[in-house]
Symmetry: C5
Subunit: 327 residues, 5 copies
Amino acid sequence: MPALPRIRRTRPSGLAETAPPPEPRLAELTADGLTWAHLDTPTLPEAEQLAERFGWHALDLEDVLSKRQRPKIDEYPEYLFVVLHFPWYDKAVQRLNAAELDVFIARDYVVTLPNVELLPVSRLFARCADDKTLRTQLFSRGSGYLLYHVLDDLFDYCFPILDKIGHKLDRIEDEVFEGRSEEVVRDISNVKQEIISYRKIIKPERATLRMLERQVERFLPEELELYFDDIVDASERIWDLLDNYKEVVEALESTNESVISHRQGDVLRLLTVFGAIFLPLTFITGIFGMNVLYPGEGTPEAYWTILGVMIAVLVGMIGFFRYKRWL
Amino acid sequence: MPALPRIRRTRPSGLAETAPPPEPRLAELTADGLTWAHLDTPTLPEAEQLAERFGWHALDLEDVLSKRQRPKIDEYPEYLFVVLHFPWYDKAVQRLNAAELDVFIARDYVVTLPNVELLPVSRLFARCADDKTLRTQLFSRGSGYLLYHVLDDLFDYCFPILDKIGHKLDRIEDEVFEGRSEEVVRDISNVKQEIISYRKIIKPERATLRMLERQVERFLPEELELYFDDIVDASERIWDLLDNYKEVVEALESTNESVISHRQGDVLRLLTVFGAIFLPLTFITGIFGMNVLYPGEGTPEAYWTILGVMIAVLVGMIGFFRYKRWL
Amino acid sequence: MPALPRIRRTRPSGLAETAPPPEPRLAELTADGLTWAHLDTPTLPEAEQLAERFGWHALDLEDVLSKRQRPKIDEYPEYLFVVLHFPWYDKAVQRLNAAELDVFIARDYVVTLPNVELLPVSRLFARCADDKTLRTQLFSRGSGYLLYHVLDDLFDYCFPILDKIGHKLDRIEDEVFEGRSEEVVRDISNVKQEIISYRKIIKPERATLRMLERQVERFLPEELELYFDDIVDASERIWDLLDNYKEVVEALESTNESVISHRQGDVLRLLTVFGAIFLPLTFITGIFGMNVLYPGEGTPEAYWTILGVMIAVLVGMIGFFRYKRWL
Amino acid sequence: MPALPRIRRTRPSGLAETAPPPEPRLAELTADGLTWAHLDTPTLPEAEQLAERFGWHALDLEDVLSKRQRPKIDEYPEYLFVVLHFPWYDKAVQRLNAAELDVFIARDYVVTLPNVELLPVSRLFARCADDKTLRTQLFSRGSGYLLYHVLDDLFDYCFPILDKIGHKLDRIEDEVFEGRSEEVVRDISNVKQEIISYRKIIKPERATLRMLERQVERFLPEELELYFDDIVDASERIWDLLDNYKEVVEALESTNESVISHRQGDVLRLLTVFGAIFLPLTFITGIFGMNVLYPGEGTPEAYWTILGVMIAVLVGMIGFFRYKRWL
Amino acid sequence: MPALPRIRRTRPSGLAETAPPPEPRLAELTADGLTWAHLDTPTLPEAEQLAERFGWHALDLEDVLSKRQRPKIDEYPEYLFVVLHFPWYDKAVQRLNAAELDVFIARDYVVTLPNVELLPVSRLFARCADDKTLRTQLFSRGSGYLLYHVLDDLFDYCFPILDKIGHKLDRIEDEVFEGRSEEVVRDISNVKQEIISYRKIIKPERATLRMLERQVERFLPEELELYFDDIVDASERIWDLLDNYKEVVEALESTNESVISHRQGDVLRLLTVFGAIFLPLTFITGIFGMNVLYPGEGTPEAYWTILGVMIAVLVGMIGFFRYKRWL
């Protein structure tokens, strides 16, 4: 019946009325008997209002507002409560963090409550609001199919971040043998922390998605069950890649350690060559610089003899180090 | 029937009668047919008295008094005996240790016997003693629900310690590239030991809590079964975080190793540059400092020639090291 | 019935007609009621045409065209869709990459769609086209048996790459104790990256092959079920070898680290010996080179005395270092 | 019936009759229809005699005499054959080794055959021999209960060794930052080897004990089944502790590595500072020590000028190194 | 019926007839209706002949001749095909390799086809040929019992190699703290490679043996089923030991790394002490060696003053380094 979607998006609501009143920020779309409600970073009153309207459990409400969550699914007779995490680059702290998406899904509604703005969700919502064809397409096959599209967009969004990490690893691999080891150490450390953070987000997600695949069946026409397989697959692919990246970065780190060690050896070898050649030679000049009377003092023959001895020492030393392949 | 809670807390019992007689330290609260007895670090006679009163198995009594325990659940027809560990900062040895909480739970009582004072339990007990509404709220839904609240408070208490570790890791990450490597080594070592200790406490706990979730059902109204899920979840979250911290601290440690290596390389390079430049130059001055007769001795032309040669050597060396990017 | 194979291979089709028209590149062979269609790197129109002809699911079509895939099997009532990865040395980026082979198999057709040209498949196809006996042999026992031969050839192709890695490891083991540590570091790093890449390809493959073994039974006469066991075995053997190679390369890496450390110690020892001998001796010559009046100044006795002292110092030092086994 | 225990301990049998005849070393205790036979390091004839008397399988006999065993349980209709390992400090080789305890248990006997003397077993046997009350207490509840007490004493005996390792780790932690790195390296190495040896002993034991718990039920009154749970628990606790110790010692080792690296950096920095300051200064003195004619030769002004330049160089260098935080 | 064993061993067949004709190398023993055929490194015609005679599957024939195999069992209605690997020291390449033993076992025959000569099998075969009693003993209880003895001998043969590795580890442990670090590095590397090779052989074997235990039951009288348990146990024991050795060698390696680092620190410290003492002192002599006019030039007072200053510097430096515990 309700063919006309009602949008009640009021956030960027133009006129600034002195003090910001508690205006409704919730955006809603309804089509084919299915409602999609979306709200970024819900506040306590907003969450309570929603909980009351849709009849959610008090524990879920707590979880929506709490910041410490794990990906999980709570099953109720009427609805599912799903908590998922997605990687999100927090520009404030220059770090990869987990963005939380809380989803309530029932036969006739999907409510998405991210704790920070998740662009893929916002954009899909906006496109559904603008494009009637798309809306019909996504809404007409049940809430499960709509959720699939939301998650599909979110996981598509995960890969560019992975690619960026991959490119960084490629660049580091090129740099390791080139020279600037301090930068390489720093780059490796940063990439490693990013990989660790990403893994932290995806690790508990995989089991949750597999459970979601089973649980969401009741909101999904039978012929579409295959779709959620795709989501599970995407998360496994991400995990495989992260595993691979972890191995790569650890390999690069130990290679870099070896390169640094090797270079220190080179430097030390040079110092030793210089020391081993010039310390004895300077000692010889010292002997003949003493103000005591020694054979040949003050004669040119002595000079040439000494010079000869010193050249012999020099040549011997260089030969020795060449033999040892230090030069 | 017993609507009036009877409190028999006698520990801080005012009057100091010459020698401390074996006065009862056990504190009890009763409401809605449910009794909560609480006693910190029970002694042998106290434990025996309790065991006799409630009819506990001799092995459990041993376990309460023993210091070597693992988290576990012993199931009896009448009651459950639960041993859980919680992180606890032992100020005496400046170390994170495990505090043990022994719990006996039956249909009509909960007995909590921590082996050191656990503030969250003591505080909840005190609040229940003071606040009748809270007491009714917690006691009226059975012993399982009361236990849930005790554990919930205890796990809430686990997170600030984790956050502190997290902040230490953040600070170390900033310090690694800054300079004071000795302090960084020490800080990394300390945090690592804390993480290891924490993991030691939580690791066997997880399986126990999952078992507790199943076993405690008989003391819990059906609609509340969801609650213990929350406790299990909290322990999993702690474990995930510890896993993540472990990866982070290991990454920081190997980065720090690389940084130390890299810096040694810098220092060594500087030494080598000085050696490679000044050892040959000093050798040249040595040659002309010998008290033998060489061409140009005692002439100013020789001085300027030598100076020219030395400057050429110096410039050549600096050029060479610049080419090698050591300067 | 269709005993005559129809080949419609048109790719290297001779005449260059001004602009290349969308000519059919698909190659097909039919014998004994079984069709094998093969097409390298299918484009969107080509894939769509095939999907329409054979009636494939839209998701599979997407997967054929997408570049991000994991090895997997999708089961449909009519056909199986199989995605497998094989190691493939990408000369453009000088790196071991995954080549993807998409296979559709039904009772009466096998369609192989690699995303890059896979020589073993192309060659087997060509041989089937040329050699009627072989064609009959492979096609007459059903689509499963044909697929077995395709995969068998592909896995045979995997071992030479492994052998090459094995030989590299052998060579590195010989080089580690010989000297050129920089090259060794580089070689170890390269081999390690190759092993990591290979593992990344094979790791998710194993589970898929085991599933394939079960699923493909319906296209395979009962007495041939053993054959796919062979394929699974080959993948396990590859995995075992990669595991072993990983252990070997890690052992070589840590040995190389030790060797580099040890050599630095040798160099440093030499420098220290020279420093410890000649710094004091030069200091002695310095004392007697000062332009101040000291006992014995300008006398030959002083010269021989000093020389004696210096020789004593020299012999003492050498003795000391010999005792310490540094010389 | 046989209320009187018969002890036939004959080992320390007083009178030394010329050559030691093959006197029976087997000690036996019987009470309440249950016999406990105990014999340290049984020889082939002794073992054969026992096997014949109690009717044991030939393979078990082999296992009793063989030195290469794993903890295991062999189940027979009449009896159980149990092989268990316990840590045992072998003073001869100064190393933690595995002592093997072979146990045969049937409804009416327990035979304990350790391959080296295990003090806890010998002592329990002696106490049972001396103390009639204890004997009745242990023997009256069946062979399973007696075995429980033997194992309980043995596992109690495992903890002091663990505590000793724990204290060593504590001491190492204190020493790491204090200085004597050679001793720390040695101590860490020793403790690590002890932990590895201990783990080797306990690792296969755990599965065996869990199996024992199930198998021994038939020799145990129903109400005592809980007891073997305690033994399993003890072995798990030991394993947890060893896991924890392993993590701790690895953390200490890498900390120690960092500390050594860091200290080398300090030493190297000091050398570089001295080199960088005095090599140029000595070079300057060398210039003016040459026997050539330079401006200012032989004048006091030159002396003061040179001294000024040298002090400027000195101050500049020190300032530079202070800025770099090397001093 | 055939009580007389027929031996057709023709390999070392005396007379050298110009060119070696394809004479039968297969050795056979028959007793109690059971035939044991043994042939080292079978060639293609030999294998084909055997396959025809006993009716083996074509795939098995391929596996016998192929060099790339994994331990495995193929089950057929008539017979079992078993592939097992055993450690074998290949003197040609100085390395521990896998020797493959292919076994065909049916109710009335056992065929052993090792790909290199396996001494324990050859010896058991020879002993059976020579000793009628042994033959009857081994052959009379079915093919499974014979196979048990073959495998038992092979596994007994595995332990001496393990012991040798164990002794090497013991020796390395003694050497690590003694000095010759280069040899230690080399020894550790060699032992590590041996352990890795051994593990590679045994790892896939364990699952195969456990499967063999179940499959071989049909060729084994019921009361002998226990025997194969022994074989499985032996392989587990080997694996446990290899695990332990791996931990030990890794511990030794990191200890050796620490020892090398520590020694470098000592060397560097010595160099720094010499540098820090003699560079300043030589500088002082340099000052007074300049040919400029300074206060006290050419006076004996200056000499003694300078000497005093230098001794003060020397004593101060030594004191400083003693305080720092470097001397």
